[in-house]
């Protein structure tokens, strides 16, 4: 790092530190969200009514085009060869047979690949999304078992796959660390998340735990997981006039285009990345080696390339969630009030990436306790770089925390719902900030009533139905409200006879969350137009701004950008309206968008339609672009979503098989924008949580560092038969400090689910399983 970089970082640190001290003290009205979004008060519009996906007809007809379904003339197909050792050097590559095979156009290895810059690793700059701080096909070094080391291009996929199988590689293997024990023995480091240490210490938690009348202190373990979207990662790409056109599957469109551009020394406008449909992502649809290799091979061969990872290839190239070992210690008074809360432990990453599984994040704001100690340490292993997977941190952190709370409830002899409500904090226990919106107690009470929680067997292993032991469990889920900077929105109003059409463009991604539909709903309400007059464009790096479908923040980021663009549009329209309009003399703050035009807020008779304003100004259209406000609200309030989860299981006393028979999620996530798609998001998260609880594990061979179950046959995920009807309810209480009063809901669903299942299994069987997944053998 240069002196300039160091100085820059120090200055940024000072700035950040000053902001963190000042922003909490600022008056609410200075902060984004300090004045509630006017849409929160609108009760009779589209927001909150169920709307079917606008891209539904296309998707059910098979007409939505995914990344591997674009074509270029003269396109060739790629196949990859993967290293079979965890660490070392390539000594020799025998590629003669591959080069001689029918249809082969190119065999590319580190020896003939073009010189490329190392992709900037995620977190090293606001737009950097590289998977690891490693060059791609630039030298003979092997860093993980499964690393791509050669790429074959051929006229057909079959020819490429066959030729790749003919390549023989000789290695010089070097010592590696592929076992957890070995990684621990090499030493541990403090984990950092977004540059901040994953560390909180308030009071003396160890002493308070030791002296508490009730004590729980256990270690919980969660294994590696893979996202497993059904669409394998793929890109169809071509070099056109010195620039790169990529049809990709991406949940970070602009950032990915920029990072790839830097790899090839291209300017931002020389990379065009589109990704209109993404076949599931869950954190995985980002930049990995294959897009860079595909682009390099296309450059070398002078032909467009389709590179589709095989399912095994996805496991070799695309990282998943890493493993954790978590200690949770809770000390409580005789009546159950927490005196000490300890949540600490380790997660594993590689020497070349920076994504610890931040499992304490949810604990920071979960419960009131005078003594708190939270810490994540890191051990490093030679493996594929791990990454974020749905609710990184919270998904596995809530398993440990919420099982421990259940264990404490059993010890004290108190209902676990009552124990949670008893320890509800009145402000953020670690930051001290006020909550922006927290109605978790209401979620608990409504959920318990609807689920029939009072019917829970009070004594574990006391209810039996033939071979089946029946039990109920509950847990809290939690996920923060985020809004990342960088989002922009471009609104174009176009005259269409006596009316107008609006196009809203955002550089966002749609992986099935319903973003394109929800964005249209919100934009229609904000512009005062019918839904069928609003078109949303997204998934294209040519659109201004950068928005990530991650951190459950996309809806908030889009919402704030559209607010800013709408303000700019109103100002522009007032200018165009001029002095002959009924709106003459009004400022943008005086008017709102209603019924296809602008009206004075307190005197709606003073209005003019958009079409009339454009027509008098002799304009066919007007376009504005604006960026969302900086997300200072995140430093001013403690902002979180919550859920109360209830689960009923039946465990077979003979086989140990667990069946989830009932599940209810009671959510407190601000105002729900589209109940139809929101229900699906909640259910989808819960189902991934059921998989995590009962079956999902990426099996890692600690001898060779190789993933042993790289297929959907051997990595078990929930199928139709595993999933009961999942009941979902929500408080629908708007957060006054967010756009539309909404919270993101993509990740909250998975959190807490594994604990609810584990707690139900304990209630059914009297067996406490602290290691996931809870497979049959662990219950026999």
């Amino acid at each position: 790092m240069s002196i300039v970089d160091t100085a820059k970082q120090a200055a940024q640190g000072l700035m950040q530190g000053a902001m963190e001290k000042l922003v909490p003290l600022a008056p609410d009205s200075w902060i984004p969200g300090g004045v509630p979004d006017p849409l929160i008060a609108r009760k009779h519009g589209l927001i909150g009514t169920p709307v079917s996906r606008l891209d539904g007809p296309l998707k059910v007809k098979g007409g939505a085009r995914f990344a591997a379904e674009y074509r270029f003339d003269d396109m060739v197909y790629a196949a990859l060869v993967y290293a079979t050792i965890p660490r070392g050097r390539i000594v020799a590559i025998d590629q003669a047979a591959a080069e001689a095979a029918t249809g082969v156009v190119l065999v590319m290895t580190h020896r003939n690949a073009p010189r490329m810059n190392t992709p900037a690793v995620f977190g090293s700059s606001p737009t950097a999304v590289g998977p690891a701080d490693l060059p791609i096909l630039q030298d003979d070094r092997i860093h993980w078992n499964g690393q791509p080391i050669a790429c074959v291009l051929a006229e057909t996929q079959e020819q490429a796959d066959h030729a790749a199988s003919l390549i023989a590689v000789t290695y010089d293997e070097e010592p590696s660390t592929t076992s957890l024990a070995g990684a621990k023995a090499n030493g541990m480091e403090q984990g950092l998340f977004m540059g901040q240490p994953l560390l909180n210490e308030i009071g003396d938690a160890e002493a308070a735990l030791a002296s508490a009348p009730h004590r729980i202190d256990h270690v919980y373990r969660t294994p590696r997981h893979n996202h497993n979207p059904i669409e394998p990662h793929a890109a169809t790409l071509a070099w056109v006039d010195g620039g790169l056109v990529i049809h990709d599957a991406s949940q970070m469109v602009t950032q990915q285009a920029q990072t790839i551009g830097e790899v090839f020394d291209l300017t931002p406008d020389q990379v065009r990345l589109t990704s209109p449909y993404v076949g599931g992502g869950f954190g995985s649809k980002g930049l990995w080696d294959h897009q860079v290799i595909g682009a390099a091979a296309a450059q070398l061969a002078g032909r467009p390339v389709r590179i589709t990872l095989s399912r095994e290839g996805v496991y070799r190239v695309v990282g998943g969630r890493t493993l954790t070992e978590q200690r949770v210690g809770i000390g409580a008074t005789a009546d159950g009030r927490f005196q000490a809360l300890i949540h600490s432990g380790l997660s594993v990453m590689t020497p070349h990436n920076s994504m610890p599984e931040p499992f304490i994040l949810g604990t920071r704001a979960a419960y009131a306790a005078p003594n708190i100690a939270l810490k994540v340490e890191i051990a490093r292993m030679n493996m594929l770089a791990n990454t974020f997977m749905r609710a990184p941190g919270e998904a596995v952190g809530t398993f440990a925390l919420e099982c421990a709370v259940d264990e404490l409830a059993v010890q004290i002899g108190i209902d676990p719902v009552d124990l949670r409500i008893l320890n509800e904090p009145d402000k953020d226990p670690t930051s001290g900030l006020p909550f922006s919106s927290r109605h978790i107690v209401e979620a608990w009470r409504r959920g318990a009533e609807r689920f029939g929680w009072s019917d829970r067997p009070a004594t574990p292993a006391s209810r039996r139905d033939g071979e089946w032991l029946v039990g109920m469990g509950c847990a809290t889920g939690t996920y923060p409200y985020y809004r990342m900077p960088g989002a922009e929105a471009r609104i174009t109003l176009t005259r269409d006879g006596d009316a107008v059409r609006a196009t809203v463009e955002v550089a966002a991604a749609e992986m099935g969350m319903g973003t394109s539909t929800t964005t249209a709903i919100v934009a229609a309400e904000r512009l005062g137009l019918p839904l069928d007059r609003v078109e949303v464009a997204y998934g294209d790096s040519a659109i201004p701004g950068a928005i990530m479908a991650g951190g459950s923040q996309q809806t908030a980021a889009i919402g704030a950008a559209v607010i800013a663009a709408h303000n700019a549009l109103v100002a522009e329209l007032l200018k165009l309206a001029g002095n002959d309009s009924g709106l003459a003399g009004l400022s943008p703050d005086d008017v709102g968008s209603v019924d296809g035009g602008l009206s004075k807020r307190d005197d709606p008779v003073r209005r003019e339609s958009y079409a009339s304003i454009l027509s008098r100004a002799r304009r066919d259209s007007v376009t504005v672009t604006a960026a969302g406000s900086p997300p200072l609200e995140l430093m001013h309030w403690s902002m979180h979503s919550h859920s109360a989860l209830f689960c009923e299981v039946r465990v077979n006393a003979v086989t140990g098989e667990t069946r989830v028979t009932r599940m209810l999620g009671s959510f407190d996530c601000g105002r729900i924008l589209n109940p139809r798609t929101a229900t699906s998001q909640f259910r989808g998260g819960i189902i991934m949580g059921l998989g995590m609880a009962l079956m999902e594990e990426t099996q890692f061979d600690e001898r060779s560092g190789r993933i042993m179950n790289p297929s959907l046959a051997e990595y078990h995920l929930p199928v139709h038969m595993d999933v009961p009807e999942i009941d979902v309810i929500w408080t629908d209480i708007a957060d006054p400090h967010t756009p539309m009063g909404a919270h993101g809901i993509g990740e909250i669903g998975i959190t807490g689910v594994a604990a609810a299942v584990a707690n139900a299994i304990y209630n059914a069987t009297g067996k406490r399983v602290r290691n996931l997944p809870i497979t049959l053998d662990r219950l026999l």
Partner: protein, 168 residues
């Protein structure tokens, strides 16, 4: 040699290694049929061969000489969606939409199996006509994975259309 795809005769591939799935997607540009695992584990590539559901990734195209293949593109009549396609939208039986064509083709094939009286693992009376209860639909559709977790909506869509016709 030729295959009949959605009623139209098309040549079989020259390379005998080409799967029916790759033939559909890469040669015929019928990309509605999806590739999820290419090894018969996910069901995304399900199509109908003479009305029976098959995994097109495990089928070599040349094996289907003279057979009639229906893909997702062949279900809608003119502009009208197949009732099951419409029900998938109504019940939100998908999120990303990638497994959807396979789920829809599989459900149509599944209903035909039930009409023929084919039992499943959860069928209790092997001699009676099959009724597609919720459990029957779940069991018979378990070869079609949906990672977004739209299972509840998928089952509702199936039970409100093709499964209801079996019971009638």
């Amino acid at each position: 040699m030729s295959l009949i795809i959605n009623g139209i005769a098309v040549p079989a591939p020259v390379d005998p290694r080409v799967s029916l799935l790759d033939h559909l997607r890469e040669t015929l540009h019928l990309t509605g049929t999806k590739k999820g695992c290419n090894q018969g584990a996910c069901g995304a590539c399900t199509v109908l061969a003479d009305g029976e559901r098959i995994l097109s990734c495990l089928a070599l195209a040349v094996q289907y000489d003279g057979r009639s293949i229906t893909t997702i593109e062949g279900l809608a009549q003119d502009d009208a969606l197949h009732p099951l396609q419409a029900a998938f939208i109504e019940h939100d039986g998908f999120q990303c939409g990638y497994c959807t064509p396979g789920q829809i083709c599989s459900a149509i094939g599944m209903a035909a199996e039930a009409r023929r009286g084919v039992p499943s693992h959860v069928t209790t009376d092997l001699t009676a006509d099959v009724t597609l209860s919720r459990a029957e639909v779940q069991e018979r559709m378990s070869g079609n994975l949906c990672r977004c977790g739209a299972y509840n909506g998928i089952v509702e869509a199936i039970r409100s259309t093709v499964a209801a016709e079996v019971a009638a």
